[in-house]
Symmetry: C2
Subunit: 198 residues, 2 copies
């Protein structure tokens, strides 16, 4: 089967800048589409159904789950979060590239269901730099920051399962690298039809 669109899964520790990198990619590339996750948590002020999340009841979510309608999902406290398979597959079939910005556990679930998805792990230049960024962001307590840093060291152990690592020295450089990864991955044999040659 000849594939059309490419599924790019972007993960990385909080503070690595993956959100900024994804936003830059989306703003400057018409052929990239951000997948909207589904959740059972309540919408916060200003959040829109189909934009920030697909808001679903617990019953709906569990029904879709039973039908294997998620590429990945997780239960955080009492709420479900997941990536709807249908939406992603439709976009890929139309030749659009799709970005998912999800955590490492979710990314590895996606890879299992769609082996040709491309996993990119965005890392800060160093743990020291990450600490500085988290402190400067000012949204986390010191205890929370220490917990995050420990968590990063834990995540790094799984890094060899990732296709690509992008060190976020500067956003421009990181975006260029992710774009190169996209260009390269679209040169994989399964994007070509060589019917004419055979």
């Amino acid at each position: 089967m000849v594939l059309k669109g490419l599924l790019l899964v972007v993960s990385g520790p909080s503070g690595a800048g993956k959100g900024t990198v994804c936003r830059e990619l989306l703003e400057n590339n018409q052929d990239i589409y951000l997948s909207v996750s589904a959740t059972t948590r309540q919408p916060r002020a200003g959040e829109k159904h189909g934009v920030n999340y697909w808001f679903k009841s617990k019953e709906e979510f569990e029904h879709l789950l039973a039908e294997d309608q998620f590429l990945e999902h997780a239960k955080v406290y009492d709420n479900y979060y997941g990536t709807p398979r249908n939406e992603v597959e439709k976009a890929l079939d139309m030749g659009q590239n799709v970005i998912l910005e999800i955590d490492i556990q979710g990314a590895l679930q996606v890879k299992e269901k769609m082996p040709q998805s491309v996993l990119v792990f965005i890392v800060p230049p160093s743990l020291h730099e990450l600490k500085t960024r988290l402190i400067n962001r000012g949204t986390d307590s010191v205890a929370e920051i220490e917990k995050r840093l420990k968590c990063v060291a834990e995540e790094i152990k799984h890094i060899s399962k990732y296709g690509y690592i992008v060190i976020n020295n500067t956003v421009t450089e990181a975006v260029e690298k992710v774009k190169a990864i996209l260009t390269a991955e679209k040169c994989r044999p399964y994007y070509y039809d060589f019917g004419e040659y055979v």
Copy 2:
């Protein structure tokens, strides 16, 4: 082990333009080095030892072969051709990227010995276009061209073993794609040392 340089293996049917693509890459990128093959055939007028080929006696070649000193080799008529392992490994260790421009059989041998080498197959936009290019080049007889075209159809069957396919619509576009492949492949986890994080 953390890798430094990358081994790029470029193959493709004659007439696909792989020579031109490699030359462009070498001229504009100081960190890419073209590996010089060894051969037992006689030097032609103007050919220089260490530039066009490492010219070796049959005994020397067979001795190196017995010591597994070639990343790939072939015997064409009565002459040996091969890629010296030592030279490539030395350049990679110094952090240089190395290009090999070899045939598909050689490329697959290299991949077996160095699994992290990157195989790129350059193809012309179509069989029709390839035929036109070979006719315009004027170096091959009609029978020779027909034989080559059959050979391409045969090679295309192995294309899924290649990491990447680059369609040579224009040299500039093809070179950009190979450069993106280089950039992407240098983002593989085995080029990173995360000692600091662990």
